[in-house]
C-alpha cells in the first residue's frame, strides 16, 4: 500500500528528524513538509489525494499562528470525501493530559505520539493504520 506523509511542525529540527526517520524506515511515495499549518490546510483543501492512497498527517500541537488544535478544527470542516483520505497523527512533546485527551477526541485524530519520533514507533503507527484501513 502506498503511504505518503504531510509533516506540519514549526520546529526545523523536528521536521528534519521526522523526514529522515520516515525516509529511512519506509519508502513513502512522498513527504511534504510545512512549518506553518495554514498553507498545509490550503494544500489539503485544494488538492485531494489520489484514490487508494493513505496520507498521514503528522501534526505538532503547539505552533504559532495556527496551532494543531486549530488545524484539526478547520480540517473537520472540510468536505467528508477529503477528510476520508487523511489520517491525523499528533506528534508533540507535550505531557499535558488535558491537551492529549482533548486532541484525541477529534474523530480524525487516530493516534498521539510523543516526540521524538523513532523508527520503532513509526513502524507501530503505520502497522496499526494499515490494519485500520484493511
Amino acid at each position: 500500500m502506498n503511504i505518503s506523509f504531510i509533516l506540519i511542525d514549526d520546529s526545523e529540527l523536528d521536521c528534519f528528524i521526522a523526514k529522515k526517520i520516515i525516509e529511512q524506515t519506509i519508502k513513502p511515495s512522498s513527504i511534504k513538509v510545512f512549518r506553518n499549518a495554514k498553507p498545509a490546510l490550503e494544500t489539503i483543501r485544494e488538492k485531494t489525494a489520489d484514490i487508494g492512497q493513505i496520507v498521514v498527517i503528522l501534526l505538532d500541537l503547539h505552533m504559532p499562528l495556527m496551532s494543531g488544535f486549530q488545524f484539526v478544527e478547520e480540517f473537520e470542516k472540510l468536505p467528508v470525501e477529503i477528510q476520508e483520505k487523511y489520517k491525523i497523527i499528533i506528534l508533540s512533546s507535550t505531557r499535558n493530559k488535558n491537551d492529549i485527551f482533548r486532541v484525541l477526541n477529534y474523530k480524525n485524530v487516530s493516534h498521539f505520539q510523543e516526540k521524538p519520533l523513532t523508527r520503532e514507533n513509526l513502524l507501530t503507527m503505520v502497522d496499526s493504520l494499515k490494519k485500520d484501513v484493511s
Binding site: L13, I17, I21, P64, L65, R95, P116
Partner: protein, 361 residues
C-alpha cells in the same frame, strides 16, 4: 501618616454631626451625612473612605440596615455603630447582620472614638494589604500555570529534538547531511538558551527593586552596537542610531536596557531575508524629562489581528522558530516598572515600528 484618614459619620441629628466634626476635624478628614441616601452618595463619591460611623436610631432605615446594605455594596470601609441602646438584641443584630467592627456607646467620649478609629484603621490597612497580596498571588499563580504549561513545549521541545537527532545520527553517513543536522541542533539549543535567559529576565523584572541612576543613552546604545554590529553585517542589515540627549535622564538601567535589547533584537530577528535594503533604525530623543525611543525595522511585519496580542506571555505571531514568546511580555513589564508606554505600528512585508516613551524618574 501623610494623608488624613477619611471618615464618614452618619446621623439624622445635624447637631451630632457638627459636634463630631468639631471634635475630630483636625486629626481626620470628616465627611457627614444626615440620611442614608446622602451617606450612600458620599461613599460612591469617596471610594477612599476608610471608616464609617453610623447612629443606630435613624428614620426610614436604622444603622444596622444601612450597614447590612453597604457591607455588600461598599465592603471596604470599616463599620462602627453608635448606639444609645444597650439591649443585647440590637448588638447581636449589628454584629450578625451589619458585620460591624465595633460599637460605640452614646453619648461617646473622644477617647473611645479615637481608639475605635485607630483600631479600625489598622484593620482596614491589614485588609487592603491582604487584598493586594491576594491579587499578586493570583497573578503569580496564573503565570506559574502558564510556565508549567510552556515547559513541556519550550524546554522539552528542543531537548526531544536534540535527542531525536542523536538517534538518527547513527544512521547518517553523508557528512553534509550531518553538518546540516548539527546546524539545526545548534539552533535548537540556542533557542533553549534564549528561553532560559528570558525566564531569568522575567524573574528579575518582577521581583527587583528600581535602582535609579543617571542614564547616558549614548553609552547604552554603544553597548547595543557592540552586540549587533557584527551580526548586522553578516545578514546585510544596516544598523542606524541617532541619539539626542542634552539633559539628564534618570531611570533604572537594567529594565531600560532590557527594553532596548528586546526591541532591537526583534528588529533584526524578523527581517525579510529576501529584501534588498534591510535596516534597523534606533532613534532616541530626551526632551522635557521624557525619553522617546523609536525602533524601526524593514522586516516582515505583524498581521493586524495579531498585533493586540504580541505583548502577552508566550504569544507568538510568527512561525519562525526563533521566538520564545517572552520578549515583548518582558518589555511590557519593564515599562510598567518605569511608568513608560509602548505603541506599535506595522505594515505587512514592510516593517514594524515600536515607539516607547519613558519619563525621567
Amino acid at each position: 501618616m501623610s494623608e488624613k484618614i477619611k471618615i464618614l459619620y452618619v446621623d439624622d441629628e445635624p447637631e451630632n454631626l457638627l459636634g463630631f466634626k468639631a471634635s475630630f476635624r483636625f486629626e481626620y478628614q470628616i465627611l457627614t451625612a444626615v440620611n442614608i441616601p446622602q451617606a450612600l452618595n458620599c461613599l460612591d463619591n469617596h471610594p477612599d473612605i476608610k471608616i464609617v460611623f453610623c447612629d443606630q436610631r435613624m428614620p426610614v432605615r436604622n444603622g444596622v440596615e444601612f450597614f447590612e446594605e453597604i457591607r455588600i455594596s461598599h465592603p471596604l470601609p470599616i463599620r462602627i455603630l453608635i448606639t444609645a441602646y444597650t439591649d443585647v438584641e440590637s448588638i447581636i443584630d449589628a454584629i450578625n447582620r451589619g458585620n460591624i467592627f465595633r460599637y460605640v456607646k452614646k453619648p461617646w467620649n473622644e477617647a473611645d472614638i479615637i481608639s475605635a478609629i485607630d483600631e479600625a484603621y489598622k484593620y482596614y490597612m491589614t485588609n487592603s494589604m491582604l487584598i493586594v497580596k491576594n491579587e499578586e498571588l493570583e497573578k503569580a499563580y496564573t503565570e506559574l500555570n502558564k510556565f508549567a504549561y510552556s515547559v513541556s513545549h519550550d524546554i522539552r521541545g528542543p531537548l526531544s529534538g536534540i535527542l531525536g537527532a542523536i538517534n538518527i545520527a547513527r544512521e547518517i553517513e553523508d557528512l553534509d547531511e550531518m553538518k546540516e543536522m548539527l546546524f539545526l541542533m545548534e539552533k535548537s539549543l540556542k533557542k533553549l538558551d534564549t528561553y532560559i535567559i528570558s525566564m531569568h529576565d522575567y524573574y528579575s523584572i518582577q521581583r527587583g527593586e528600581l535602582k535609579i541612576t543617571d542614564i547616558d543613552f549614548h553609552k547604552l546604545v554603544d553597548e547595543l552596537k557592540t552586540i549587533y554590529m557584527v551580526p548586522a553585517k553578516t545578514i546585510g542589515v544596516t544598523f542606524n542610531v541617532d541619539i539626542k540627549q542634552a539633559e539628564t535622564f534618570r531611570s533604572d538601567e537594567i529594565p531600560l536596557m532590557l527594553i532596548l535589547n528586546n526591541l532591537v533584537s526583534n528588529a533584526f530577528k524578523y527581517q525579510d531575508q529576501h529584501k534588498k535594503n534591510k535596516s534597523v533604525d534606533v532613534m532616541i530623543s530626551v526632551e522635557n524629562n521624557l525619553a522617546t525611543i523609536y525602533v524601526k525595522d524593514t522586516g516582515i511585519g505583524i498581521l493586524g489581528n495579531h498585533i493586540g496580542e504580541i505583548f502577552n506571555l508566550f504569544y507568538r505571531a510568527n512561525y519562525q522558530e526563533v521566538g520564545s514568546g517572552f520578549g515583548l511580555y518582558n518589555v511590557k513589564n519593564a515599562l510598567l516598572k518605569l511608568n513608560g508606554q509602548i505603541e506599535v505600528t506595522s505594515v505587512m512585508d514592510q516593517g514594524t515600528t515600536f515607539r516607547v516613551t519613558i519619563p525621567s524618574i
